[in-house]
């Protein structure tokens, strides 16, 4: 699971080594990556909202 999260985070900032990518594409099912990506996106938005709310105080 942690490796999935790491891959998604790497994708989010756009860096991922080729070796790792080959692994991901041969091993995991795509659905796991897609769900993780959606969750991480939501977390990212919430973090940004949180930062904005804190900064606005």
């Amino acid at each position: 699971m942690w490796s999935v999260v790491k891959s998604v985070l790497a994708a989010l900032i756009g860096v991922q080594s080729n070796v790792k990518r080959q692994q991901d594409f041969s091993s995991g099912k795509p659905l796991i990556f897609i769900v993780t990506a959606i969750v991480i996106t939501l977390v990212f938005v919430l973090i940004l909202v949180g930062v904005a709310l804190v900064a606005a105080r």
Binding site: A11, G14, Q16, F25, T41, A52, A55, A56
Partner: protein, 547 residues
């Protein structure tokens, strides 16, 4: 618009007539003349139709821009009245966005995506025909509003309510209908592209083997499917406000004019990326070809495109920094907008690194692609400046913004389209474009574009608001330069037409692999590409991802 489309335009003629002859026996029921173009389901023919349509619209929208620039040549009202001026700025924006840039990319997608993934045609050929022929209908309707009593749309291409509802000319209902039709066309086109890419790749071609043009279009198509319905909902609410007595956007009836802007920009910001992501794909195809070196960071390009697309849904209110949002909202949208610079920067760095230690030659597609990288980046810099919310209070709705988005759309999107056309013309017509004329077109365009849009930065910073038919005397010099540049740029585009027409008629014969460094599947079919290609799926050789 149908009569304006010559049924036997030279480009279509020569790119298909040979192939037509070849495949004639297999398709003996093939209609002739106008009916052939009305009924065609061939992705190459439909691609050509899209491209010709968008070229015509590019010139119509360009003429509107020149009316604007002519009026702004000097202070004072000389040529047109403010009312007509507003119609021209509005129509210029609408035509260029919805009828020139978007159909041009769809045309390139139609031609190239099946060729690049080894598919025989688009997944839904009849739908493909329908989505194209909706466009001439939509834009004939839109242009006809200029002749209606009260004139055409005069509220800017962003058509903010209540100026576009309670205070709009009577023709606004036609404008709404036209936009609905164009929106349906976009959605259908996008569905077709997604279906093609996901289902019709050559055996052995995985997602991460697809050329970047295909990747960027896949992501663009998802953006289109996501936001076009928002636009449709928005204009339907306008329609109700205008004709059926609702008050979605009318404060007097309890409505909310700011809601309009939230909805518009929730559509509008992804729309901006719809117009630039396929351009990234084209440039990512051309630069490696002429640097004779694989694209640096293919995977990160894909991820960066996805990240830009994702972020595009989170930044809409940076167009609304001065409408009085709460502080926390301003901060959220400022931060998210600044973050877009990161994936965009990654792309630029990747292109530059692709050039590094390559073996670079400067044919016309490469020149346009290089100009794209430099000038798009300049547009990106002014975008970064606009993202700084406190400073945006000064930049907002000035010519600085006009300069910014023209830098990302003209030497951005449009240069990429032209680069793509020069790059793929040998494949379409079997002839190389005349290199001397193409280079002449390039240098004229690059001078024209900078002369037109660079002074606008200064005019905006010095305090000139956008969309005004007349201006104070301190802006006179900048405007005169811009107007001269605009006419120079406009006239230079005739060279482009000349190059294309000459290339269709003849020229140096191109082999299947027209460019030395070109790698993708489209270069494995003969030039010109026959009407039907990849009827048996090709063998896909994994060149890039295997090492």
């Amino acid at each position: 618009m149908a009569p304006k489309l010559p049924p036997q335009h030279p480009l279509q003629h020569s790119s298909t007539v040979v192939a037509d002859g070849q495949s004639h026996d297999a398709h003996s029921a093939h209609p002739k003349g106008v009916m052939r173009w009305l009924l065609t389901t061939n992705h190459k023919e439909i691609g050509s139709l899209y491209l010709i349509f968008s070229l015509i619209m590019f010139f119509i929208g360009g003429i509107f821009a020149l009316v604007v620039r002519a009026e702004l040549f000097q202070p004072g009202l000389q040529l047109v009245e403010p009312e007509f001026f507003n119609q021209m700025t509005t129509m210029h924006g609408l035509i260029m966005v919805f009828a020139a840039v978007m159909p041009a990319f769809t045309g390139l997608a139609n031609w190239m995506i099946p060729l690049q993934i080894g598919a025989p045609d688009m997944a839904l050929p009849r739908l493909n025909n329908f989505s194209f022929w909706l466009l001439p209908v939509a834009f004939t309707l839109l242009l006809s509003t200029l002749l209606m009593p009260g004139g055409g749309p005069n509220f800017g291409w962003t058509f903010y309510a209540p100026l576009s509802t309670t205070y709009a000319p009577p023709s606004t209902t036609f404008f709404i209908l036209a936009l609905h039709i164009a929106g349906i066309s976009s959605i259908l086109g996008a569905i077709n592209i997604v279906a093609t890419i996901l289902n019709m790749r050559a055996p052995g071609m995985r997602m991460m083997d697809m050329p970047l043009f295909v990747w960027t279009w896949l992501i663009t198509a998802f953006l289109l499917i996501a936001v076009m319905p928002v636009l449709a909902g928005l204009i339907t609410m306008m329609l109700m406000d205008i004709n059926f007595g609702t008050s979605f956007f009318d404060a007097a009836g309890g409505g909310d004019p700011v809601l309009f802007q939230h909805l518009f920009w929730f559509f509008g910001h992804p729309e901006v990326y719809i117009m630039i992501l396929p351009a990234f794909g084209i440039v990512s195809a051309i630069i490696p070809t002429f640097a004779r070196k694989p694209l640096f960071g293919y995977a990160s390009m894909v991820y960066a495109t996805a990240a830009i697309a994702l972020l595009s849904f989170l930044v809409w209110a940076h167009h609304m920094f001065v409408v009085g949002l709460p502080l926390a909202a301003e901060l959220f949208f400022m931060y998210s907008t600044m973050l877009i610079a990161v994936p965009t920067g990654v792309k630029v760095f990747n292109w530059v690194t692709t050039l590094f230690r390559g073996s670079i030659s400067f044919e016309s597609p490469m020149l346009f692609a290089l100009a794209f990288v430099v000038l798009f980046t300049i547009g990106g810099f002014s975008g970064l400046m606009l993202a700084i919310a406190p400073a945006d209070f000064q930049y907002h709705d000035t010519y600085f913004v006009v300069a910014h988005f023209h830098y990302v759309l003209v030497p951005g999107a449009i240069f990429a389209i032209m680069a793509g056309v020069y790059y793929w013309l040998p494949k379409w017509t079997g002839h190389y474009p005349n290199e001397k004329l193409a280079q002449c077109h390039f240098w004229c365009s690059i001078i024209g574009v900078n002369l037109t849009f660079f002074p606008m930065h200064f005019a905006g910073l010095a305090g000139m608001p956008r969309r005004i038919p007349d201006y104070a005397l301190q802006f006179a010099d900048f405007n005169m330069l811009s107007s001269i540049g605009a006419f120079f740029f406009g006239v230079s585009q005739l060279i482009f037409v000349l190059v294309v027409v000459l290339c269709v008629r003849g020229g140096k014969k191109a082999p299947a692999k027209a460019w030395e460094g070109a790698e993708d599947l489209e270069w494995s079919v003969p030039s010109p590409a026959p009407l039907h290609t990849f009827e048996t799926p090709p063998v896909f050789n994994r060149t890039q991802s295997s090492d």
